[in-house]
Amino acid sequence: MSKILVIAEHADGQLSAGVAKTVAAAKGIGGEIEIAVFAADAAAVADQAAKLDGVSKVLAVSNAANANPVAAILAPQIVELAKGYSHVLFPGGTFGKDLAPRVAAKLDVQQVSDIMAVHGASSFDRPIYAGNAITTVEAPEGTVVATVRLASFQGVAEGGSAAVEAVTVDAALPSHTRYVKLEAQKSERPDLQSAARVVSGGRALGSSENFKVVYDFADKIGAAVGASRAAVDSGYVPNDMQVGQTGKIIAPELYFAVGISGAIQHLAGIKDARTIVAINKDPEAPIFEVADFGLVGDLFQVLPELTGKL
């Protein structure tokens, strides 16, 4: 039977939404599911992880060295813990992408990146070529080390009550990597990666000031705000708002693409959205080919009008 270790991602004392999604993938594999939380003081986050449905145990690894998510520091501890498990799964954001290969290399196994569907204990689907092809793969013998594509899984519900166990991990930690700081974009809006509704603006917004119409509309419907690569590269919004192949890959219930033409690289990031609404001046814009609802019009008229009508 599989015994699966899920590595928890968290920030500011909050478990990330991606962990519930990673547990969902683990449930697809089946077997016993445990979560490891690494932090300076892991107790509070471990309690949150213990509530996730399907989890049998949470390992709280408290160590001052774990105050920040530094891959080089976490990897040796995970390698040590991994000995008792058939699978080690990571949420597939930048945290897991940075960390998982460092663990896989030490365990001497090839890693499976971005699993989007589970067929069995070692059989998964994963995207290649920016999602333009989907492969079914078989992981090799040994520990299965994988990252989970968050847009492909619905997070498990809360309601569980797993045991939390404080664990000490005996591993030599390197001193070659020092965390300096995180410049986070503070926002009162929902998190782009996990929001049910997202409004993204493109190059057509024309300036950072003009993005206000996007924010106003998003706030009206309780949506997170994203942007196309063109809007980010033009400096209208910070890079962590980029939706697309090289930015965030998201799967909201409702997605508004506003003034976004629909380059392949942007579409790769929204393929899993339940409903796509496109608003664009150009009736020939490729975004209309994938939109469930399209409206040809000037966004500077359409958006305020929509905001007023809701």
């Binding site: 940075d98 460092r102 663990v103 090839q110 890693q111 070529y129």
Partner: protein
Amino acid sequence: MKALVSVKRVVDYNVRIQVKPDGSGVVTDGVKHSMNPFDEIAMEEAVRLKEKGTVTEIVAVTIGGAKNEETLRTALAFGADRAIHIKDDGEIQPLTAAKALAAAVKKEDAKLFLCGKQAIDDDANQTGQMVASLLDIAQATFASKVEIDGEKAVVTREVDAGLEVLEVDLPAVITTDLRLNEPRYLKLPDIMKAKKKPIETVSLADLGVTAGAGVKTTKTAPPPSRSKGIMVKTTDELVEALKGKGLL
């Protein structure tokens, strides 16, 4: 200090990918190939560090068949001083690539190992981290700013939550993200000069690497397609349609 930059030959990013009808993979024969765009950014960064005097020698390295020589010539035209071609005609998975590249870093005694954060063919996003892991050295992935200061590097990383800054001791692995720089256009004289620069050919065996068990791809399929939906004419129609579906 010496920088080693790994460059991968991939299907050009402008090519529309076709899945083979029998599901055995994607069509790569007769399709334009070029250097992985993220690796171009790594090359450009190495060249800029050399122009600043921080890096004194750039060695480009690739793994693959005979055609990969083109990719190395591109790297040499960028400004690499010489190149290493790890020749192998089989499928090279990330851990195998990382073992070979780690051996090359050791052999060259390089202080910096640069590569793209991922290759746009398999999108694995693993090799750089694995090189760092195998060598037990620091890694700074998804870099959008790199400052070298003596035996240290301060690297700004693009993470989901914003921009993270790490300080790492050298030697270190740095994987490059889109906004680190804009690679230069290659000029004809540089392309001509690149033809005369030396390329050393080695095998995986020369580096003491054997490919272990790999991830086996059993099927390749096109993604489910989205169909074109409804065009509405007014915001009223749009609001009505979305409310009708319970979305607003």
